[in-house]
Subunit: 139 residues, 3 copies
Amino acid sequence: MKSYRKELWFEVPSRRGFINITPQVKECVDASGVREGIVLCNAMHITASVFINDDENGLHQDFETWLEQLAPHDPIERYRHNRTGEDNGDAHLKRTVMGREVVVAITGGALDLGPWEAIFYGEFDGCRRKRVLVKILGE
Amino acid sequence: MKSYRKELWFEVPSRRGFINITPQVKECVDASGVREGIVLCNAMHITASVFINDDENGLHQDFETWLEQLAPHDPIERYRHNRTGEDNGDAHLKRTVMGREVVVAITGGALDLGPWEAIFYGEFDGCRRKRVLVKILGE
Amino acid sequence: MKSYRKELWFEVPSRRGFINITPQVKECVDASGVREGIVLCNAMHITASVFINDDENGLHQDFETWLEQLAPHDPIERYRHNRTGEDNGDAHLKRTVMGREVVVAITGGALDLGPWEAIFYGEFDGCRRKRVLVKILGE
């Protein structure tokens, strides 16, 4: 069995944003030499997500609007978590909706994705450097 | 290490619906010959889900009602994604709530599920043929 | 390839509650002898979750409040599922938001978690004994 590990670093220059990380994950699969296996791709931070959806800007704006409805950022006093001095209570909830991780099959040395599937980093408490873990297992 | 891959195809004859796919996933596990491992089961489309819950019709109606409250289909103009000519903006959000994938353990050659766990395909933009990927790894 | 399986049992003495199970999962990783691999950790019940987030009590109260807004327990007649004699329709929905499972990388024989990541059992229909499955694969 082969294993491969890499950390991808991101610094989103605003509180929230989405980055298509499919190319970087593909590079990891290539570097791993794994032909049949899986790749686990997870946020290492609890106010960020890795998720799979469409690379379409209108949809990303829909996610932004929808998540703000489900878990508004303001007023920050609405979250008990923010009594610790944080202002990111909403980010923990938004990331929960979007998910922490994806597991993607590797077949014939390539990411085994459907035609419109793209892997995204979702940032909900940005303006600082944060990490995604890519872990690959297989043969 | 053994690996196995199969695509399951579905055509739900309405916009939304749930299909218990546990029997098909079991057949894949049998065909793989894997005794100890995992099965990854994911929608290959970004307006559909694979999830685990109860095979109880009342609950499925509750999911339908609840998802329509969280992300209503109408008016379709409420979603920027629909400006592309689509009418499935809501389906992308509903699938996000329900999840893209499940990973299930294989123990002693069988799906290692709790007593009420069943694997479902969740369709949110149906009336066309769509796929689920089953990828099995183990020994 | 090595594999390891353990069931963790919990009895939360109230309807809802969160338990940090990171120490138990670490013990499983140690017992497995796996140096490079993954651990799948999933609720075996469909009214409970395994998820990763912050071990901060205010945040846990925020989750409780938020989930009650998204899927209130009362009136129990609002859920068709409860016509079966159950009163846990809300618990199926709450668990859906929080997720069934996590997959965590194992690197160098240890859980490969970010600095604030902790693994939680989330109970939404407690006062009875329920199980989490820990399945480890690797070398």
